[in-house]
């Protein structure tokens, strides 16, 4: 069975009807359960569960401390290139947007690496726009070889690859993949991705599974919130994560709940996702998958991030810059505007003030 079939089990589910039947007693019972079903998770995403956020938060906090301790993994994105052949209507790197396109040379990669390494971080996420031509697997591998001199964990957020390509990158030293489906609703997906290879919904949907099969240690998925109804998108993300974890027990499956941010294209979110919505999503997911990572990026405000530390988050980006070469030189245009502009030391101090320890390094194999 593929994840597409797994998700299909719920396509005809009438979410509103399901939500209408949820009672307060159901929510209370689910919060106390040892292991939640997929439909329990959906119940926690219901409007009814909004009244129970505090109880959910207490439980989410307890579970997170139990499994992860009072620690927070820090990482930062490194943009290698911003060439893109796609036309996602919501993104600043959209192929037709008139921005300066760049791709880092190995010397520039070194400059970026040095600037980031000076902050103490050992985990990085390398990104490219989606262009196989400009940012080939060979180019990514070359960058990984360079970056291995500075970091102990390298993840990628690039266009979907086939299994052999993921394997090649695992052998080169990449240990994690982030692949956002952007939107699980297939019709809206088609609407928002009018042209380019990214139109292929299923090839993208199966990418995290291919990464698992290729031996990646961590696979991070998510929906870009703001493109469709958040409750069903959060639900499908959870079903996807659960599917991967069940099938690939040795992989650390994690999710991110990114919200749309302003960017050069100016496409307004279709749906407004509030802070409260994000909190509910993260708490419900933590109760559903107590051991999974949950990543919160600098798309969120400093205030929001400070408050989310104790609500189930396990990884945070810090000192982020979404522009190519932005760590070492004056930045060009970023993929989107970041919100929390604090540097790594500020984030570390914030964590310590909340009785949490920043973790700069959490993996090493070479």
């Amino acid at each position: 069975m593929s994840v597409y079939e797994e998700l299909s089990n719920y396509r005809d589910l009438n979410f509103d009807k399901f939500f209408d039947q949820i009672t307060d007693a159901d929510i209370q019972r689910i919060i106390g359960k040892q292991r939640l079903t997929v439909l329990d998770y959906l119940a926690l995403l219901s409007p009814r569960a909004e009244k129970h956020l505090e109880a959910m938060a207490q439980q989410a906090h307890r579970l997170t401390v139990q499994h992860f301790g009072h620690t927070m993994l820090l990482y930062t994105p490194l943009y290698l290139a911003n060439y893109c052949v796609n036309q996602c209507v919501y993104c600043g790197f959209h192929a037709h947007n008139d921005i300066e396109r760049k791709k880092l040379s190995q010397e520039q990669v070194i400059a970026e690496a040095e600037a980031i390494a000076a902050t103490g971080l050992k985990h990085i996420l390398i990104l490219t726009g989606e262009s196989r031509y400009h940012s080939s697997v060979a180019y990514i591998k070359e960058c990984v070889q360079t970056l291995k001199n500075y970091f102990t964990s390298i993840s990628i957020e690039v266009y979907p690859l086939n299994t052999d390509e993921y394997k090649e990158l695992v052998e080169a030293g990449v240990d994690g993949v982030t692949m956002y489906q952007e939107v699980y609703d297939e019709e809206i997906y088609a609407e928002l991705h009018p042209a380019g290879p990214k139109r292929d919904y299923r090839y993208r949907l199966d990418a995290p599974e291919r990464a698992c099969q290729a031996g990646m240690r961590t696979v991070n998925i998510g929906a870009l919130l703001g493109l469709s109804d958040w409750r069903s998108e959060a639900f499908f993300t959870g079903v996807h994560a659960d599917y991967l974890q069940n099938k690939y027990l040795d992989v650390e499956v994690s999710i991110s709940p990114p919200r749309m941010r302003p960017h050069v294209g100016g496409f307004p979110p279709k749906v407004i996702v509030t802070d409260k919505n994000i909190v509910q999503y993260v708490l419900a997911f933590r109760l559903f998958m107590p051991r999974s990572g949950i990543t919160l990026s600098t798309r969120e405000s400093a205030k929001m991030r400070d408050n989310m530390v104790r609500l189930g988050i396990t990884k945070m980006s810090a000192g982020s810059c979404t522009a190519v070469g932005g760590h070492a030189e004056k930045a060009s245009v970023g993929q989107f505007e970041i919100s929390d502009e604090r540097d790594v030391a500020d984030i570390a101090a914030m964590l310590y003030s909340q009785n949490y320890q920043p973790v700069y390094k959490d993996w090493q194999i070479w």
Binding site: Q66, G69, K122, Q245, R291, W363, I365
Partner: protein
Amino acid sequence: METTLSQDLLKIGDKVLTSRLFLGTGKFSNNKLIPEVIKASGSQVVTVALRRVDPEHKEENIVEYIPKDCTLMPNTSGARTADEAVRIARLARAAGCGDWIKIEVISDNRHLLPDNIETIKATEILAAEGFVVLPYMSPDLMVAKRLAEAGAAAVMPLGAPIGTNRGLRTKELVRILIEEIPLPIIVDAGIGRPSEAAEAMEMGAAAVLVNTAVATAANPVVMAEAFGLAVAAGRKAFLAGPGAIQDYAVASSPLTGFLRE
């Protein structure tokens, strides 16, 4: 009795220990707590995940917080296969972390249960390379025997899944390992309360390893001290040889009393 207690030393590899509480360091809110916790507990063996050791980051490098007179027991946390565990162990030795290695091979991200088969493989390889190998395992007699044959210096069965604080749920199986395996049996993972640590020691465990129970306590330093006392108390009770448990009150009209008439 006093002589027995003063000579009650735990020998593992070339080390001789007086404390039988081992501490984990993975979940503290601040590494600066670690020295105080170690001191309060009296522990002489401290495990650190090599994945977290960062010699280049002095302030955050966990090893910097471990007193020099403690034995460092790096672990292979994060390893999913024997091959990864072996690579991590070699890196740990190369990084100057010594010869002790706690093998942790986990390929079950839902429950974090150890992979006994891969653990045996890693133990064979590393013991042959001269490491003092302490494998973390699911309590299973045949696996423990294989680990002993492979050259393990001790065997570390779990009391309950990592981080659960559920206590000594595997008691009967651990008891069998204690009876049958001629190596120190160190209960690792799951112990949530000092009383549970004491219980493991009363049963004859050689030592107990605790992390979550201390690191997530409201007052980790005081909890560390409580564990130190409990482990010592449990050990003393074991050495003292507890009296037999009577299921029934000794009857005033015994059934076999007529034999004495």
